[in-house]
């Protein structure tokens, strides 16, 4: 009888390509991020999404696991981004009367914000020596990930790099958005929510929801309108810029 040996190589190959590993790693890292947020007494730098990304990246790089292997499982989590976008109708429903009464400022505000961020994204990237492809990759970054990825692909950018820029824009908004808005004198919670959603999509909205339900509702609305406006405005602006 041969002595029992551990099939460590086969087991490792199974583990890194199994959805179970990617999903578990993502949930545990996110849980640690939530704990950090609580432990630091809500320090705005301790955004769970930021902590989770750093932890998971460190694990993948340390064990030499490819992003493709990881995302095979993790995509079961990002799938829920679609239903979560649908779910943003709930705060909108709660605040419906206020939203209806300020429909015009909402539409004009989001449209001007989208034009501002797309145009300045392209121009500033160009000014600092970014290639044409890099400028296109930057253009749709304010829209929420599924949309920014799609638009980036349409216009000839690098979709996955756009996704990364989108996430960084989101985290920036969750960390510094409310503070900056206070600094520039934007105090109305409708204006604050709309600004956070327009510049920082769902991640900004998650911060806005923590500030107040009303701010969250306007932020979610803004994220949806910005996604719409970005897909319409980017191709037009690129003709001019």
């Amino acid at each position: 009888m041969t002595p029992m040996t551990l099939h460590s190589h086969e087991t490792w190959d199974w583990l890194i390509s199994s959805p179970l590993a990617g999903i578990t790693l993502t949930l545990v890292a996110y849980k640690l991020g939530r704990l950090a947020l609580v432990r630091t007494g809500g320090n705005p730098f301790a955004q769970p999404v930021l902590i989770a990304i750093v932890l998971i990246s460190a694990v993948l790089l340390t064990f030499d696991i490819s992003y493709d292997d990881y995302v095979g499982g993790a995509s079961y989590i990002s799938f829920w981004l679609g239903p979560a976008t649908v779910a943003l109708a709930l705060p909108l429903h709660h605040e419906w009367e206020r939203v209806r009464r300020s429909a015009l400022p909402v539409l004009l505000g989001v449209l001007s914000g989208t034009v501002a961020s797309v145009a300045s994204g392209v121009l500033v990237t160009r000014l600092f020596g970014g290639s044409h492809q890099l400028q296109l990759t930057m253009a749709p970054k304010a829209a929420t990930t599924p949309v920014s990825i799609a638009v980036s692909g349409q216009i000839g950018g690098i979709p996955n790099l756009t996704a990364v820029l989108t996430i960084i824009a989101g985290i920036t908004g969750a960390v510094a958005g409310p503070w900056l808005l206070t600094r520039i004198g934007v105090r109305d919670e409708r204006a604050r929510g709309l600004a956070l959603g327009a510049a920082s999509h769902g991640i900004g909205t998650s911060r806005a929801l923590h500030e107040s339900r009303s701010e969250g509702a306007f932020s979610g609305l803004s994220m949806a309108l910005t996604a719409l406006a970005t897909s319409l405005v980017v191709p037009v602006l690129l003709l001019i810029l």
Binding site: Q47, W80, S117
Partner: protein
């Protein structure tokens, strides 16, 4: 909870099918959100209804759903390093500009209307 999840998925499905059938250049989940808003306006569910609890659960953990795409950063570490200046300047200045323009424009428009 189950009913709420089914309704969310059905609304997204309706949105995705709608934009594909009509060929509209609009994100499917955004149309799904409008469908779900219509459902909520018509049904007016109570706070304990599955129609309220399922979306609340997803919105509470909204940040989690962005983690997998964010980890994509490890594929682009080289790109980010080589193009650090245009990417950082382009990203953060345009983020700041977009945030400020939206916030200030809405504030001004709300004030104009109040007069």
């Amino acid at each position: 909870m189950l009913n709420g999840v089914i309704v969310l998925l059905a609304c997204q499905l309706a949105g995705e099918l709608g934009v594909r059938l009509t060929g509209l250049e609009v994100p499917g989940p955004v149309v799904g959100m409008l469908v779900f808003l219509l459902v909520l306006r018509l049904r007016r569910p109570s706070e304990t209804d599955a129609l309220v609890r399922a979306p609340e659960l997803l919105l509470r953990h909204l940040q989690l759903l962005f983690v997998p795409a964010g980890v994509g950063v490890i594929v682009y570490l080289h790109q980010l390093r080589v193009n650090a200046v245009p990417l950082a300047a382009g990203l953060w200045l345009s983020w700041l500009f977009g945030l400020a323009v939206t916030g200030l424009a809405v504030t001004a428009l709300l004030r104009v209307r109040r007069r």
